[in-house]
């Protein structure tokens, strides 16, 4: 069974901290994505990557950065966490461009206090 694994289920961080959210997929997928999910706003794309060392900004990249050093791992970095970044963060991957069939991880619920 294919899997996207997010390292933490729940995370509590202080304002100003640097936060790393890790995501690993075991499907040899080319594309990886980071979304945040907020009630009433749906899923909003933060960053995505089509290849190792490659990254593209999504719709809400401000305050975030990403790293993809290996094909299977895509990290989301909050450079200086703020309370408005409290959210559910979802990682996803897809095999090829144009398929739209994403596999999502179970999410990391981040609370910034």
């Amino acid at each position: 069974d294919v899997k996207v694994t997010q390292s933490s289920r729940y995370l509590v961080k202080r304002t100003g901290e640097k936060v790393f959210l890790e995501c690993v997929q075991d499907m040899d997928h080319e594309n990886m994505f980071w979304y945040r999910q907020d009630p009433g706003l749906g899923l909003r794309l933060i960053y995505f990557s089509y290849d190792v060392k490659m990254k593209e900004k999504g719709d809400i990249p401000e305050g975030y950065s990403v790293s993809r050093e290996k094909k299977e791992r895509f990290s989301l970095i909050l450079e200086s966490a703020s309370t408005n970044q409290t959210s559910m963060y979802l990682c996803a991957s897809s095999l090829y461009t144009g398929t739209g069939g994403y596999t999502f991880g179970s999410g990391t619920r981040l609370t910034v206090v």
Partner: protein, 111 residues
């Protein structure tokens, strides 16, 4: 232009009834329209999808109806069951494999 508008925000249906969730879009560059189902504590999972050259797709109790001229598509769940209670997201794919999601519909099916 890149938005996908979804309604209703929440839906309560009796067991055995039909659940209908609607979505609308503006950008004609979208070329793939999936629906995702999300249970509490889980990530969204692909449920069913359609391409714009098809007006309807059915998989079991789930049907997508697509109206290209109106730029609307909808999910119909026939014979709704309590196990269908979840949040449903419509989405539209931009040519670069970037999925734009709707705001979600929380479906509750009561016995």
């Amino acid at each position: 232009q890149q938005q996908v508008k979804q309604s209703p925000q929440s839906l309560i249906v009796q067991k055995g009834g039909i659940s209908i969730i609607n979505c609308a879009y503006e950008n004609t560059a979208f070329d793939y329209f999936p629906w995702y189902q999300q249970f509490p504590g889980k990530g969204p999972a692909l449920l069913i999808a359609i391409r714009p050259d098809v007006s309807e797709k059915k998989e079991g109790r789930f049907t997508i109806s697509f109206n290209k001229s109106a730029k609307q598509f909808s999910l119909h769940i026939m014979d709704s069951q309590p196990g269908d209670s979840a949040t449903y997201f419509c989405a539209a794919l931009l040519n670069t494999d970037k999925l734009i999601f709707g705001t979600g519909t929380r479906l509750q099916v009561f016995p």
